[in-house]
C-alpha cells in the first residue's frame, strides 16, 4: 500500500469512477459506450470492496475473493453483451441503444 | 376405498387409460364403459343411501369419509352425501353418459375431447360429494377449467370470444367465491368443514358481507340475472356434449353451491336479503323467457330459456320454505335433464341441416320423426306440462312461493308464475316454425334419420324426465328427507 493514501482518497476515486460510469450509461446511445460505462461502475464497486476489506477487516479475505468473483463475472458479462451487440449489429446494422425496443411489452 | 371416492377415482382412471389408447373407436368405447361403470356406482350409492335411510339412519350426511389432507390449515378431504347430493349425482351420471354417446361422431382430437369431458365430469362428481369447502372449491375449478378448452377447440362460431368470456366471467366469480370461502373459514373458527361451519353460526356482520359474495359467486355459474350473459354466447359456441353437460350439470353447481354454501352456512344474511335476491330471480325468470322469444338461433333460445328456468331455481330457494326448496332442487334435476336433451337434439339437427336458425327450417316432423317428437316432448316438459318433470318442479316452487302473503312476495311470485305463458309462446314458436309447417328446402327431404347412439343418448335423458313427471314421489321424498336440517338452519334466524 502506498504511504499517505488513506481510505477516503480511494473512496473518492471509486465514487468518481462510479458516477462517471453512471453519467455515461444515462447519456450515451452507443451500446459499446454503455458497456464501458457499466464496466466502470462495476470496477468502482470492486474497488470499494477491496478498500473496505483492507481498512476495516484486515484479517479477512472475503472482500478480495468477492472482487475476484466480480472480475470474473464482469468478464463473462462483457463477453455475452458483446455477443448480443454484434448480433444486433448484424440484424439492424446499428448499435444505437434507442433503436432497440424489441423488449417492449 | 369408500364408495363415494370411487366416483372421483373412476373418471380419473378412465382419463389415465385414455392417455395410452391410440385407436379412436377404442377411445369411445373406453370412455363410454368408464362412464357406464360410473353410472352403476352412482346407482349403488343411491341404493345404499335409500337403504340406510330406510333402516333409520338420521344423520345429516351418510357414507362420510374424513381424511386430513393439510393439517396446519385444517383442510380435509371430507366427503358424504345427503338426498339432494344423491339426486344431483344421478343427474350428473345420466347426463355425462348421454353426453358420451351424443359426441360419438366427433372426429378431430377425439381422445383429447373425451379426456377433457371426463375431467369436467370428475370435477362435478367431486363437487357434489364434498363436504369440505376447500375440496369443494378445488373440484369446482377442476370442472370449470376444461370448459375453456372444450369450447375453444371443439366449438363453432366465435368460439374464442365465447370461451374467453365464459372463462373470464367464471374466474371473476371464482375470485369472489374464494374470498367468501376464506371469509367463512376465518369467521367460523378456521374450519372448512361445512357441518361445523353450519353449527358455528358466523357473526351477522360477516354473514352480511360474505353471503352476497358467495351467492353471487355461485350465481354467476347458475346464470343469475344479470350475470347470465356468458351463457348464451358460451352455449352457442360450445360443442353439443359440452352444452349438454354445461347447461345440464355444470350450471347446477352454481345453484347447488348457492344453496349449500351460501344459504345453508349463512342463514341469517340469507333471510335478510331474500327479498332482494328473490326479486332478482323473478326478474331473471321473466326476462329470460322474453329474451328467448326474440331469438332465432336454437341454442340462443335454449340458453335464454335456461336463464329463465335457473331463475326459477333461485326464486324457489329465496322463497325460504321447505316446499319451495324441494321445488328448487327438483327444478335443478328437471332442468338439467330437459336442457341436456334440448342441446343434444339441437346438435343432431345442426349436424344434419347445418343451420341453427329456426326460420330456415320447417316441416322437420316429417323427415326426422324421432328427433322432432323428442323435441316436442321436451318442449312440453319445459313449458311445465303435467306428466313431465317440469310440472312437478314448478308447482313445488309456485306453491312454496305463495305461502308468503307479503305483498312484495306476491308480486314477485305472480311475475314468476306468468313466465309459464311466455315459455309456452317461445316453445310453440320454435315447434311451429321448425318442426311443423311445410318443408322449406328441397335438401331437407332426405335428411338421415337418427342413428343408434343418438337415440340412446336422447332416451337416456328423456326417460327420467317422464319418470319424474309421472311418479314424483320417490324423488320428492329423497329430497325432502334431507331438507330438514337446512330448513331448520334457515328458519332459526336469530337476528
Amino acid at each position: 500500500m502506498i504511504e499517505g493514501i488513506g481510505v477516503f482518497d480511494v473512496l473518492a476515486v471509486s465514487t468518481i469512477i462510479f458516477f462517471v460510469g453512471l453519467f455515461g450509461f444515462v447519456t450515451r446511445k452507443n451500446m459499446i459506450s454503455l458497456l464501458i460505462s457499466i464496466e466502470l461502475m462495476l470496477n468502482s464497486v470492486a474497488l470499494n470492496f477491496v478498500v473496505f476489506n483492507k481498512f476495516l477487516y484486515p484479517g479477512n479475505i472475503q472482500g478480495y475473493i468477492f472482487t475476484l468473483f466480480l472480475i470474473a463475472v464482469a468478464a463473462a458479462e462483457v463477453a455475452l453483451a458483446i455477443a448480443i451487440i454484434i448480433s444486433f449489429y448484424r440484424m439492424d446494422n446499428s448499435i444505437d441503444a434507442d433503436e432497440m425496443d424489441s423488449l417492449s411489452g | 376405498m369408500d364408495i363415494l371416492s370411487l366416483l372421483v377415482v373412476i373418471p380419473m382412471l378412465t382419463v389415465f387409460i385414455l392417455f395410452f389408447v391410440k385407436d379412436m373407436q377404442m377411445v369411445r368405447i373406453i370412455a363410454a364403459a368408464g362412464m357406464f361403470v360410473e353410472t352403476i356406482v352412482t346407482f349403488f350409492v343411491t341404493r345404499n343411501y335409500v337403504a340406510s335411510r330406510g333402516s333409520g339412519d338420521t344423520s345429516e350426511f351418510l357414507m362420510t369419509k374424513d381424511f386430513t389432507w393439510f393439517e396446519s390449515l385444517n383442510i380435509h378431504y371430507f366427503v358424504g352425501v345427503d338426498g339432494i347430493a344423491v339426486a344431483m349425482l344421478l343427474l350428473t351420471a345420466i347426463v355425462l353418459l348421454a353426453g358420451i354417446f351424443i359426441s360419438w361422431n366427433i372426429e378431430d382430437l377425439t381422445r383429447e375431447f373425451y379426456i377433457s369431458l371426463i375431467i369436467l365430469g370428475t370435477g362435478v362428481f367431486g363437487f357434489f360429494i364434498s363436504l369440505d369447502l376447500f375440496t369443494m372449491f378445488l373440484f369446482y375449478e377442476v370442472a370449470v377449467i376444461p370448459m375453456y378448452l372444450l369450447i375453444g377447440i371443439w366449438g363453432t362460431g366465435p368460439k374464442e370470444y365465447a370461451a374467453m368470456k365464459l372463462t373470464l366471467m367464471l374466474m371473476g366469480a371464482s375470485a369472489m367465491l374464494l374470498v367468501a370461502i376464506l371469509g367463512i373459514y376465518y369467521f367460523s373458527g378456521q374450519t372448512f368443514n361445512m357441518q361445523e361451519i353450519a353449527h358455528a353460526h358466523m357473526p351477522i356482520v360477516a354473514q352480511r358481507f360474505f353471503f352476497p359474495m358467495a351467492f353471487v359467486g355461485f350465481g354467476v355459474l347458475g346464470a343469475l340475472f344479470p350475470f347470465h350473459t356468458w351463457s348464451p354466447d358460451g352455449h352457442a359456441s360450445a360443442p353439443t356434449a359440452v352444452s349438454m353437460l354445461h347447461a345440464g350439470v355444470l350450471m347446477k353447481l352454481g345453484t347447488y353451491g348457492a344453496f349449500r354454501v351460501a344459504m345453508y352456512l349463512m342463514p341469517d344474511a340469507a333471510n335478510e336479503m331474500s327479498t332482494f335476491f328473490m326479486g332478482l330471480a323473478a326478474i331473471g325468470v321473466i326476462y329470460g323467457a322474453f329474451g328467448a322469444i326474440r331469438q332465432t338461433d336454437l341454442k340462443y333460445i335454449n340458453a335464454y330459456s335456461s336463464v329463465s328456468h335457473l331463475g326459477l331455481i333461485f326464486f324457489g330457494m329465496m322463497a325460504l320454505n321447505k316446499t319451495a326448496y324441494t321445488g328448487a332442487v327438483l327444478q335443478m334435476i328437471s332442468h338439467g335433464l330437459m336442457t341436456a336433451v334440448f342441446f343434444a337434439l339441437i346438435g343432431m339437427l345442426y349436424g344434419r341441416t347445418h343451420t341453427r336458425d329456426v326460420r330456415k327450417m320447417g316441416g322437420l316432423l316429417k323427415v326426422l320423426p324421432f328427433i322432432a317428437v323428442v323435441y316436442m316432448i321436451i318442449g312440453m316438459a319445459s313449458l311445465g306440462l303435467p306428466g313431465l318433470s317440469g310440472f312437478v318442479a314448478e308447482m313445488h316452487i309456485f306453491v312454496g312461493a305463495f305461502q308468503n302473503p307479503d305483498t312484495i312476495h306476491r308480486i314477485f311470485s305472480i311475475l314468476a308464475v306468468s313466465a309459464i305463458v311466455v315459455t309456452a309462446v317461445y316453445i310453440l314458436r320454435v315447434v311451429g316454425m321448425m318442426l311443423m309447417g311445410p318443408i322449406k328446402h328441397q335438401e331437407f327431404e332426405d335428411l338421415p334419420k337418427a342413428v343408434w347412439y343418438e337415440k340412446v343418448g336422447a332416451l337416456l335423458v328423456l326417460l327420467p324426465v317422464m319418470a319424474i313427471g309421472l311418479a314424483p314421489n320417490w324423488l320428492v321424498s329423497l329430497i325432502q328427507d334431507s331438507l330438514a336440517p337446512i330448513v331448520e338452519q334457515l328458519s332459526h334466524s336469530g337476528y
Binding site: 453512471l22 450509461f25 444515462v26 446511445k29 454503455l34 441503444a97 434507442d98 432497440m100 424489441s102 423488449l103 411489452g105 | 368470456k165 366471467m169 344479470p226 350475470f227 347470465h228 350473459t229 356468458w230 326476462y287 322474453f290 329474451g291 322469444i293 326474440r294 321447505k322 316446499t323 316441416g363 316432423l365 316429417k366 312440453m380 313449458l383 311445465g384 306440462l385 303435467p386 306428466g387 310440472f391 312437478v392 308447482m395 309456485f398 306453491v399 312454496g400 305463495f402 305461502q403 302473503p405 311470485s413 305472480i414 308464475v417 306468468s418 309459464i420 305463458v421 309456452a424 309462446v425 310453440l428 311451429g432 311443423m436 309447417g437 311445410p438 318443408i439 314424483p472 314421489n473 320428492v476
Partner: protein
C-alpha cells in the same frame, strides 16, 4: 258399491294411447282405429254401468246423492296439509260427464274410422284421440283442484296436437299455437287462483273447499280487491281459467280458428267435451262460487255467459264457413250454460239454473256433436267448408240431411227435441233472477234459430250447385254415429233430469211453465221463419237485409275485430314492446356492462404498455430514479434528513 272398476275407464284409453302411439306405425292402419273404438266402447259401457249403479243402486242417502271416492291416492305432497291427490270422485256431475265424454268419444272414434280413411297419420290420430279421452275423463273425475289442473293442461295439449294434426298446413299450425297460448294465458289465472287458495284456504281438496264448514264458506275474509275477498279473487281467477277453456268472451278467439283440425276432433273436443270443462269447473266448485262474498263471483259468471252468447250469436249469423258458424254457436250455447250457473242458487227451485246448465251441457253435447259430425259428412262429400260451395244436398245425402235437421230443431228449442227442454229451463231460471239477462238470452234464442237454419237451408236447399264429383252419402261408420246421436237428440229431453243432477243434490221435479215454453218456442219459430224466407231459395233478399245493417254487418262479419285487437297486443305490445327491448337491453346494457369491464381492463393494460418501451436506457433511468426515491424515503423516515430544513 265401491266403484273400483271405474279405474278401467281411464286405463283402457291410456293403454290404447301408448299402444297405437308407439306401435301404430308398424301395424296396418285399420287396426289402430278399431282398437281405439273398441276400447272406447268398453269405457262407454263401464260409464253406463257407473251411472246405473250410482243413480239407481246407490240412490239417495239422507235425501241427497252422496259423493263417493272410488280412489284417492296421494300423488305429491307439498306440505303435510297441502296434498295433491289423484283419484276418482263419483258424484252426479262427474257421472254425467263420464257418460257424455265416453259416448261422444266412442261415436267420434267410430266416425273417424270412415272420416280419416286413407290419411297418412291415421294411427297418430287415434292415439291422440285416446290421449284426449283419457285426459278429459280423468279431469271430470278429479277429486282435487290440482288434479283438474293437471288434466286441464293435458286436454289442452291434446287439443293442440289435434288442431295441428295437419301440421304441414301453416294455418293449422298457427291455429293450434293460438289455441294453446290463449288457453294457457287463461290457465295462468287458474293457476294463480289455485295458488292463492293453497295459502288462504290451505287445501286443494274439493270436498273441503265446498263444504259448509270448510275454509271458504265458514270464514269471512276482508275485501281486498274491488269488494271481493281473497277467496272471491281466487275464484274469479279460477273462473278466468274456465272461461279460457270454454271460449268465453274475450278469451274466445282461439275457438273459431281451432276448426282447422279434422272435423271429428271439432265435434269431440271443441263442441261436446273440452270446451264445457269451464262450465264443469264452475259447477264443481258451485257451492263455493255461490257462498263466497254473497255470490258476487257468480254475477261475473252470468254476465260473461250472457255477453259471450250474444256476441257469438251475432257473429255466427254472418259467417260463411259452416264449421265457424258451428264454433260460434258452441260459444253461444256455452254462454247459456255459464249464464244458467250464474243465476242459480242452491236449494230446490232456486237451484234451477244449475240443473238447467248441466242439462243443457248434456243435450248440447249430443246435438252439437251431431251437427259437427253432420257438417263433417257434408265437408267429406263436397271437399269444402264454405257455404257458397254447397246447396241442394238433401237429394244426395238423405241421412245427413235428416239428422242435421233434427239437430237444428233441437238447438233452436223446438219441442219435443232435447234442446227445447234444457233451454227452456235456462230461460226460466234467468227470468226469475234478472230480467236483463233474460232479455239477452231470449233474443239469442231467436238468433240461434235463425243462424242454424241459415246454414241448414244453405247446405241442403238453396241454390242448385253443380258439383265436380257427385256428392254421395257417407259410409256406414260415419252415418251410424249420426243416427245414434239423432235418436239421442230426440229422446234425451224427456229424461227427468232434476232427479239426477241438482245443485243441492236432492230430488227436484221439473215443471214446464206453458207461458215460458210458448214464448221460447215462439221466438225460435220466428228465427226459423226468417231463415226460411231468406235462404230457402236462392235470392237476393239476404244480401239486401245484410246491406240494411250496413257497417254493423261488416263488423260482425269481421268478428268485431277481436283477432286484430289480440294481434295488436301480442305483436305490438309483447313482441315489440317487451321482447324486443329485453333483447336490446340484454345485448347492449347487461352484456355491454360485462364487455365494458373487459374493455376497461384492456384499455388500462394498453396504457401500461407505453411504460414498457423496450428501451434499456429508459429502464435504467427509471431504475436510478426509483433508487433515489427509495434512498431519500428511507433517510427521511429514519429522521436522517429533513426536507423542512
Amino acid at each position: 258399491m265401491d266403484f273400483k272398476f271405474t279405474i278401467w275407464i281411464l286405463i283402457l284409453p291410456t293403454l290404447v294411447f301408448l299402444f297405437t302411439g308407439l306401435l301404430g306405425k308398424k301395424m296396418p292402419a285399420k287396426i289402430s282405429g278399431w282398437i281405439g273404438t273398441a276400447s272406447m266402447a268398453t269405457a262407454m259401457l263401464l260409464a253406463y254401468k257407473t251411472a246405473y249403479e250410482y243413480f239407481f243402486q246407490v240412490g239417495f242417502v239422507d235425501g241427497i246423492r252422496p259423493t263417493i271416492f272410488a280412489y284417492k291416492e296421494v300423488w305429491m305432497k307439498f306440505t303435510d296439509t297441502l296434498v295433491f291427490d289423484m283419484g276418482i270422485l263419483i258424484d252426479p256431475i262427474s257421472v254425467l260427464m263420464l257418460v257424455v265424454v265416453t259416448t261422444v268419444s266412442f261415436l267420434v272414434h267410430l266416425y273417424s274410422i270412415g272420416y280419416m280413411h286413407g290419411d297418412q297419420g291415421y294411427y297418430k290420430f287415434f292415439s291422440f284421440l285416446s290421449l284426449f279421452s283419457v285426459s278429459m275423463l280423468a279431469l271430470v273425475v278429479a277429486t282435487n283442484i290440482f288434479q283438474i289442473y293437471f288434466f286441464w293442461e293435458l286436454v289442452g295439449v291434446s287439443s293442440y296436437l289435434l288442431i295441428g294434426f295437419y301440421y304441414d298446413k301453416p294455418s293449422a299450425v298457427s291455429a293450434a299455437k293460438k289455441a294453446f297460448i290463449v288457453t294457457r294465458f287463461a290457465d295462468l289465472g287458474f293457476l294463480i287462483g289455485i295458488l292463492l287458495l293453497s295459502f288462504h284456504a290451505g287445501t286443494f281438496d274439493f270436498m273441503t273447499l265446498v263444504s259448509e264448514d270448510g275454509p271458504l264458506l265458514a270464514q269471512t275474509a276482508p275485501p281486498v280487491f274491488m269488494g271481493l275477498s281473497i277467496f272471491g279473487v281466487a275464484l274469479s281467477l279460477i273462473f278466468v281459467g274456465g272461461a279460457g277453456k270454454s271460449a268465453m268472451f274475450p278469451l274466445h278467439i282461439w275457438l273459431p280458428d281451432a276448426m282447422e283440425g279434422p272435423t271429428p276432433v271439432s265435434a269431440l273436443i271443441h263442441a261436446a267435451t273440452m270446451v264445457v270443462a269451464g262450465v264443469y269447473l264452475v259447477a264443481r266448485l258451485f257451492p263455493a262460487f255461490q257462498g263466497v262474498d254473497g255470490g258476487a263471483v257468480l254475477h261475473l259468471v252470468a254476465w260473461t255467459g250472457a255477453i259471450s252468447s250474444l256476441f257469438a250469436a251475432i257473429i255466427a249469423m254472418t259467417q260463411d264457413d259452416i264449421k265457424r258458424v258451428l264454433a260460434y254457436s258452441t260459444m253461444s250455447q256455452i254462454g247459456y250454460m255459464m249464464l244458467a250457473l250464474g243465476v242459480s242458487g242452491m236449494e230446490g227451485h232456486h237451484g234451477l239454473g244449475y240443473m238447467a246448465s248441466m242439462f243443457h251441457l248434456f243435450t248440447h253435447a249430443m246435438f252439437k256433436a251431431l251437427l259437427f259430425l253432420g257438417a263433417g259428412s257434408v265437408i267429406h262429400a263436397v271437399h269444402s267448408n264454405l257455404m257458397k260451395d254447397m246447396g241442394g244436398l238433401r237429394k244426395y245425402m238423405p241421412i245427413t240431411h235428416i239428422t242435421f235437421l233434427i239437430a237444428c230443431l233441437a238447438i233452436s228449442g223446438v219441442p219435443p227435441f232435447s234442446g227445447f227442454f234444457s233451454k227452456d229451463e235456462i230461460l226460466a231460471a234467468a227470468f226469475e233472477q234478472n230480467k236483463i239477462l233474460f232479455a239477452i238470452e231470449y233474443a239469442v234464442a231467436g238468433l240461434t234459430a235463425f243462424y242454424m237454419f241459415r246454414i241448414y237451408f244453405g247446405i241442403f236447399w238453396g241454390k242448385e250447385t253443380v258439383y265436380k264429383h257427385t256428392p254421395h252419402e257417407s259410409p256406414l261408420t260415419m252415418s251410424l254415429p249420426l243416427l245414434i246421436l239423432a235418436i239421442a237428440t230426440v229422446f234425451i229431453g224427456f229424461i227427468p233430469f232434476g232427479h239426477f243432477v241438482t245443485a243441492d243434490r236432492a230430488l227436484y221435479d221439473i215443471h214446464i211453465d206453458p207461458m215460458m215454453a210458448g214464448a221460447s218456442v215462439g221466438v225460435g219459430l220466428i228465427g226459423i221463419l226468417v231463415a226460411y224466407i231468406l235462404y230457402k231459395k236462392e235470392s237476393t233478399l239476404a244480401d239486401g237485409v245484410s246491406e240494411m245493417f250496413g257497417q254493423g254487418y261488416t263488423w260482425a262479419k269481421d268478428k268485431f275485430y277481436m283477432d286484430e285487437v289480440y294481434q295488436f297486443f301480442a305483436h305490438k305490445m309483447m313482441f315489440a314492446g317487451v321482447a324486443a327491448p329485453v333483447a336490446w337491453i340484454d345485448k347492449n346494457i347487461v352484456d355491454g356492462f360485462m364487455n365494458g369491464i373487459g374493455w376497461i381492463t384492456e384499455t388500462f393494460s394498453m396504457m401500461l404498455e407505453d411504460w414498457q418501451s423496450g428501451r434499456v436506457r429508459q429502464y435504467a433511468f427509471s431504475f436510478i430514479l426509483g433508487l433515489l426515491v427509495i434512498i431519500f424515503a428511507v433517510l427521511y423516515l429514519n429522521g436522517i434528513i429533513d426536507f423542512k430544513g
